[in-house]
Symmetry: C2
Subunit: 368 residues, 2 copies
Amino acid sequence: MSETNRLLQAFNHTTHQVGGHGKRNLQVLKDALADLDGSLPSDMYGTGKVMEDFQTKMANFLGKEASVFFPSGTMAQQIALRIWCDQQGLKRVAYHPLSHLEIHEEDGLKELHQIEPVLLGDENRVIHLQDVLNMQEEIACLLLELPQREIGGQLPDYQELEAISAHCREKGIKLHLDGARLFEILPYYQKTAEELCSLFDSVYVSFYKGIGGIAGAILAGDEAFAQQSKIWKRRHGGDLISLYPYIISADLYFDQRLPKMEQYFTEARELASFYNQCQAVATRPLEPVSNMFHVHMQVPRAQLEPILVSIYEETGIGLTPYLRESDDHSCTFEVSIGDRYATIPRAELAHVFHLLDERIRAIRPLSR
Amino acid sequence: MSETNRLLQAFNHTTHQVGGHGKRNLQVLKDALADLDGSLPSDMYGTGKVMEDFQTKMANFLGKEASVFFPSGTMAQQIALRIWCDQQGLKRVAYHPLSHLEIHEEDGLKELHQIEPVLLGDENRVIHLQDVLNMQEEIACLLLELPQREIGGQLPDYQELEAISAHCREKGIKLHLDGARLFEILPYYQKTAEELCSLFDSVYVSFYKGIGGIAGAILAGDEAFAQQSKIWKRRHGGDLISLYPYIISADLYFDQRLPKMEQYFTEARELASFYNQCQAVATRPLEPVSNMFHVHMQVPRAQLEPILVSIYEETGIGLTPYLRESDDHSCTFEVSIGDRYATIPRAELAHVFHLLDERIRAIRPLSR
């Protein structure tokens, strides 16, 4: 068995796992349906009470005229950008070089919509006002991902967001929020979703990240935007006869977990500080601004994996199921805090990090 | 209340409803999950046992190298046509003028893929070999929908299908099967799915029509085709983190209802003959070739609706929840036979048609 498989296997055998809400298994759906009566009618091709009620609820929460449920954010966001491009008569948008659209969607935006992206700013930081001001190209829409997931979930200052929004409005550039983790950043900004979304013309939110649903997304904006997005949803093949398995679970877990976002945020900062106390380990960002962060360890994978496996086996606590080698002598992985974290005895967790620090110190001389 | 709403309301209050499997409600999903353990892991972005097992099962059933689960047929079929067009270097396909792609998808094929369709044959009949032979345009792919839903579910002779397939192979034209109701036509053709699909390069089947699942589709073909379709699925936003609610229900209801397709077919022919014995009523086709047909009644809607409402109320049996006015003096509606039909006492059903015939005869002199 490879070390990687050993790490995953050891992780799967732990009693406590530090990230997430729990296993992604059928129980998540069963729990969502348990209290509902079987007579609840399905939605039908975008209509029906179960869908319309949730769309109204989310439109209100986000402070937008209307919202539309989508099977995925990939679909919702391409469509948002397409609508704004068509409206502006300009097939160019701007987003971060590590945007989901650029690195995880097989170039759907280019292949299906012939929209050209301008990669704005630097891979290693968030987009700043100055990047927008310096942009040479004319664009129809600017997409901001808050938090910027691929760099550990970082955020610009709220004042900078306001300035970017004001600039876009002045220039007639539409501003779209990739809010895959929008709920998760509200505690840091100390803003309501409505306040934050008021800076944007359109907003996408996801229900299987911090919310922990099965799948699904909401796209919100003004009424005309929402209507057009339904036509494009049909074109993309996303206007299913029934989306209720996703809607029901999104709705239930939204109610359950939205009030816990502050807790996840606090716990993420606590966990990050545990990591940052270890030799050769740093989180990114150093102080999380949401429930997520990345961990960077200046230890070669071949040495780090046995350490982690030994700690998982001794303590029954699993830190990460995987390691990504960033170069020959360091590794990185992502952490997102959910319901599980609160169930782990703090003293035991402190002991895990004591062991981690000790064992990294023991091998570090060998690695240089 | 409008007559239309009265008809729907009267239908909803009947004890027996003639078409379909039952109400599309949450119970359909609850039943599909009931016997499964909550520990069953979710699929993950197109991978995982629950998805891969079902894909293998369907590839075997359809006699293709590989199959890929999709959230919708709209997505699956656009992608099939796109793959064949790209492979042939020609963005033109042919299909029936009433193809789902032409009338129900908001022109997704044209808007997202810039594929130009040739509308082959006549609105009022299926595509024949002669239509294919007469076609002036070069095409990358021919799509055949079996049965042709919008004309009551009609089929070409099997020998004609074989001839079309042979012609396409000779000319290097890819042949794609819109098999939204493929399972439903096997009893008529007296062929296995594998035999029928061997005439085609790619095949789409649906799981919420005769099978009665929640939603979802399979696209099958050779290994390279399947691999490409996964890339396009990601681009379309259909590569969800979890599709298991659809897969599980598709799998369960496939096992339950595939063996009943012969029964539905027989029942459809019985029901059609009941209709055809009534004054001014004819089914299309006269003898169904699947579980479905259309009913055409040469009676004005304003006169037909009160008749139907009175029969529903007196007998507790509902024939159709809606009527579509085809012109000033006739109406039409669609019937698909499912599990419900077998539960209706035959003598009571015969009585319904006795009443229908009697009451149409009574008003027919007034309508001319």
